[in-house]
């Protein structure tokens, strides 16, 4: 095994035992990037010089015996998290040259934990998409099949971990943007509870839904990453003041006696049969581990996509108003007056999907439509959340497919936005309710594409989420494969 193929916890041991150095790991990672990124295109910006500097610093720390679990570990960041001095594009022309003068809180925390940042990963423009095809910087491809999309919007971060171009990465998840690409790329991806991880420095798409989370090669790594990024941040008013347990303590714990809910609304016609059988097998595995699986109902599930595609674009239309060509970002020189400058800069700076969502959101909030769209969707959201509250009264966790289908072909859904939106049908509810969710690999299609199973738990129960995901990962009789690239 190459160093870049190992997990955080494996590398941590090697570093501690002086079997390797952070510089060596970083070299392995960049060697891999140079070998495969032409094909996959996980990265928008590489931070090679800074990475080696940080790696050398990390090695010194480890020598002094000071290293923590992430010291010297090469990590990639979705290009939506502000990095002081390194451009942060959000996959958009409008931010092509934007260099933040500050670090986002997660970046600061990982920096403090000794992580080595190797680069910023590709994404759907402003995280709007489910395939990483809407980036101004080109398409990212699935490391398991270069004809397929890696999922999105955090496709670059998912592909980079799947292709061993980094050890772990961070993504952001507004409607499934971590869990869906994790499923399609055969890795672990978690969206924590809303408010668990600071959003400060995360470029906003839909502020009441956005949450940062890790992509890792296994569940233990996920717990290690979560330990580093979770916790109250005074710079984020929506971050929660609560004690953070050591999530690694939930790894390998038994789920015997648990009740796991299987929502019937997530198992209906339209799911790819190979996905369905993989997830049904997962249910059996979970039962085999001593948990009781029972059918439950989340009656408002059918409204998820509609609620989401009102609320997320509404918030986005406001969040993206700041890109006006005045203080930063792209400005068109062709404008004759102020109105022209605004319109030309924004029209040239944003891609179609972003424009589409800005327009949906603007319409949904506009005079005469607010009650019918924004308010209505927010009310149904309340009912949806109640469904989950009800379910978690009797269930320890909920199990669903992560996605309705495995990775689809590049270009397949680009002309049909509604079809694309329906890719998130199983992941959206988690964001709307604010609960945590994780996608873990649960099998492969005949064509060799990965399939994911999603676990959900109640608010702030990431520990239990790690517990069930880890139990499943450790005990399921499942063939482990690496991405074929």
């Amino acid at each position: 095994m190459e160093l870049n193929q190992l997990t955080i916890h494996e590398l941590q041991k090697k570093l501690k035992n002086s079997e390797t150095t952070s510089v060596e790991i970083t070299e392995a990672v960049f060697k891999r990037i140079e070998a495969v990124d032409d094909k996959i295109h996980s990265f928008v910006t590489l931070m090679k010089d800074e990475a080696f500097e940080e790696a050398r610093e990390a090695d010194k720390e480890i020598q002094r015996g000071n290293g923590g679990p992430l010291t010297g570990i090469p990590i990639a960041l979705k290009d939506i998290m502000c990095t002081k001095g390194t451009r942060t594009t959000c996959g958009s022309h409008i931010l092509e040259n934007f260099i933040p003068p500050y670090d986002s809180t997660v970046v600061k925390r990982l920096r403090d934990a000794g992580a080595v940042f190797i680069g910023k990963t590709n994404m759907d423009e402003f995280a709007m998409g489910s395939s990483t095809e809407t980036s101004y910087f080109g398409v990212t491809k699935n490391p398991w099949d270069l004809e397929k999309i890696p999922g999105g919007s955090s496709g670059g971060s998912a592909a980079a971990v799947a292709a061993d171009q980094c050890i772990a990465s961070l993504g952001s998840d507004t409607g499934g943007s971590i869990r869906q690409p994790a499923a399609l790329c055969g890795i672990v991806g978690m969206k924590p509870t809303y408010g668990r991880v600071s959003r400060f420095g995360l470029v906003a798409f839909a502020s009441s839904l956005d949450q940062i989370g890790p992509f890792t090669k296994d569940v233990e790594d996920c717990a290690i990453m979560l330990n580093a990024i979770a916790g109250y941040d005074p710079n984020d008013s929506t971050s929660v003041h609560a004690d953070i347990p050591d999530y690694t303590e939930y790894v390998s714990k038994s789920i015997e006696g648990w009740t796991v809910g299987i929502p019937k609304e997530y198992f209906i016609e339209g799911i790819d049969p190979e996905v369905l059988s993989a997830v049904e097998a997962a249910i059996k595995e979970v039962e085999h581990m001593g948990a009781q699986c029972k059918e439950i109902s989340l009656p408002h599930s059918e409204y998820c996509v509609a609620i989401y595609y009102v609320i997320a674009p509404s918030e986005a239309s406001s969040n993206l108003a700041r890109y006006d060509g005045v203080r930063y970002g792209f400005r068109s020189d062709a404008g004759r007056d102020l109105m022209d400058m605004y319109k030309m800069s924004r029209s040239a700076g944003f891609g179609d999907e972003v424009k589409r969502r800005i327009m949906i959101g603007t319409h949904a909030l506009s005079s005469g439509y607010y009650d019918a769209y924004y308010k209505k969707a927010s009310q149904v959201r309340t009912l949806l959340r109640k469904d989950f509250d009800e379910a978690f009264r009797t269930c320890d966790a909920i199990l669903t497919p992560s996605t309705p289908t495995p990775a689809f072909n590049i270009g397949e859904k680009m002309d049909d936005p509604l079809q694309m939106y329906l890719c998130d049908v199983f992941t959206i509810s988690c964001n709307l309710a604010g609960i945590p969710g994780i996608s873990v690999p649960c099998g492969y299609t005949e064509a060799g594409l990965p399939i994911g199973v999603q676990f959900l738990t109640g608010h702030f129960e990431e520990g239990k989420l790690i517990q069930i995901a880890s139990a499943y990962e450790k005990n399921a009789t499942l063939e482990r494969r690496r991405a074929t690239i």
């Binding site: 710079n235 008013s237 006006d324």
Partner: protein, 477 residues
């Protein structure tokens, strides 16, 4: 037909916090452009607002002082519009659930009181400043002011004249400054006002079509703009026309209002709850805590001054123009127990000198206690009122205690009959011609003799005594 104006005022007051409403940048006025900025108030990608608690404290203070109901749970909204000095493309403000509603203030009008309702008070962030180039087709944006905390105070359409409008504004201004939550500086934009004004036939219930007035930068502007606008609308209505609903700018140099030049669009602000900010829950304890910090307000103070000190209402108005001045006056009275004399000195000499020196009462070199001591010296006959003026001058210049000045300069009033008689004899002896004229009936000369006596006693003579003795001597000789 007789028309009645219906006026509502929207006041924006800048709160006197050290830092901006959602970030730690300084609110100080007059810094170099864009020097008081950070990623948050520039509205950079990824930033989040965190509310300055003092803004809420101050707003609750104002709400309580204006008899508003505090909404125990109130929330933030975004008001969406594009403007170069609005960094995020939206303003964070309160919309559906403001912090305070349904209050009022009483305005003194021609001896009576008029109650003007307050619809709501809400908190919001200010925008930056745009500077327009005279020669180039360009504008410049300075974001120092972006994110400075404001409260907006919206009145009910209860105002019926320009005078009432100005009276209401002065009252709000006074309260804000008294509470110490706004510096009230209109030139620097700390206290701004827009007006909604319409006319309706007297007796009619329904409101007419209104115009919105902006760009009024002083009380005088407001007065003139409202007067002008009342006349303008009256003229339109009387000649059978219709008022257009529009925003008009006051042009003070020409004394007219005119419609905004730029194309005014029908605004659609697309308000919605701000997902980045959580609600504010105001507890009873919080309200009680703020209540304790509210001082006596000017109107109540004025009434108390008239009642307890028995001074004319005019004096009470002057003495309560600021909390500090009122405190100074009360401190003086406390130490001399002569309210009217103290009032005369504070309103006359103290305010006069402050004006000359361009100082506030806090900068007065004469303390209230020293002033009281000086008044006591007059009262106990140590010095005359005239000498007191001289003593006060010296106190103002040097800050010395009045007693010390009197002693050093030997200014103690001469009340000893013997020495005064000597002085009078002296005067009469050296001015025999005048004495003769006086005796022949030129009684005006009496004043001349008094003057002469004062001159040789260097003003220290007790004037009453001089009069008495002089009369006696002149009739005797």
């Amino acid at each position: 037909m007789e028309y009645e104006p219906v006026i509502g005022l929207e006041v924006h007051a800048q709160l006197l916090t050290k830092t901006k409403i959602f970030c730690g940048c300084s609110t100080q006025f007059g810094a170099a452009p864009n020097s008081h900025t950070c990623p948050i108030c520039i509205g950079m990608p990824g930033i989040l607002p965190v509310l300055n608690k003092k803004v809420v404290d101050y707003t609750i203070k104002m709400a309580l002082a204006t008899h508003c109901n505090i909404n125990r749970e109130n929330t933030w909204a975004r008001k969406n519009y594009f403007y170069p000095d609005l960094p995020k493309g939206y303003q964070i403000t309160q919309f559906a659930e403001p912090i305070a509603e349904h209050g009022y203030v009483d305005v003194e009008m021609n001896g009576g009181k008029k109650r003007i309702g307050i619809t709501r008070i809400h908190m919001e962030e200010d925008a930056g400043k745009s500077i327009h180039d005279e020669h180039q087709p360009a504008s410049y944006v300075d974001l120092n002011r972006a994110g400075v905390p404001l409260i907006e105070i919206v009145s009910e359409p209860d105002i019926r004249s320009a005078e009432e409008g100005v009276g209401y504004l002065r009252r709000l201004h006074e309260i804000l400054v008294y509470l110490g939550i706004c510096d009230g500086n209109m030139e620097e934009g700390s206290f701004r006002c827009d007006a909604n004004i319409s006319l309706r036939p007297k007796g009619e219930e329904k409101f007419g079509i209104r115009a919105e007035l902006k760009n009024m930068n002083s009380f005088r502007h407001v007065q003139r703009a409202l007067e002008y606008e009342i006349k303008r609308q009256q003229y339109i209505l009387e000649s059978g026309g219709e008022v257009i609903q529009e925003t008009r700018l006051w042009d003070d140099s020409q004394g007219v209002t005119h419609p905004m030049r730029g194309k005014e669009e029908a605004h659609d602000y697309r308000y919605f709850p701000d997902p980045d900010l959580v609600s504010i829950v105001v507890s009873d304890e919080w309200i009680e805590e703020i209540k304790k910090t509210i001082p006596e307000l000017p109107l109540e103070k004025r009434e108390r001054f008239v009642n307890t000190y028995d001074i004319p209402p005019y004096d009470a108005v002057v003495l309560t123009t600021s909390r500090e001045l009122a405190d100074f006056y009360e401190e003086t009275v406390k130490n001399c127990r002569k309210p009217k004399i103290a009032s005369n000195w504070v309103m006359g000499d103290v305010l006069g000198h402050l004006k000359e020196d361009k100082k506030d009462i806090e900068g007065s070199p004469v303390s209230a206690v020293s002033l009281a001591k000086m008044i006591n010296l007059i009262e106990d006959g140590t010095i005359s009122g005239k000498i007191a003026k001289e003593v006060f001058e010296e106190m103002w210049k040097t800050g010395k205690e009045p007693k010390k000045i009197v002693e050093e300069r030997g200014l103690i009033q001469i009340t000893d009959t013997g020495s005064l008689e000597n002085a009078i004899d002296n005067v009469l002896k050296t001015n025999p011609a005048q004495v003769e004229e006086y005796k022949q009936g030129k009684e005006k000369l009496f004043g001349f003799f008094v003057g002469q006596v004062m001159k040789i006693t260097r003003g220290k003579a007790n004037p009453k005594l001089v009069n008495e003795l002089l009369k006696k001597k002149l009739s005797a000789s």
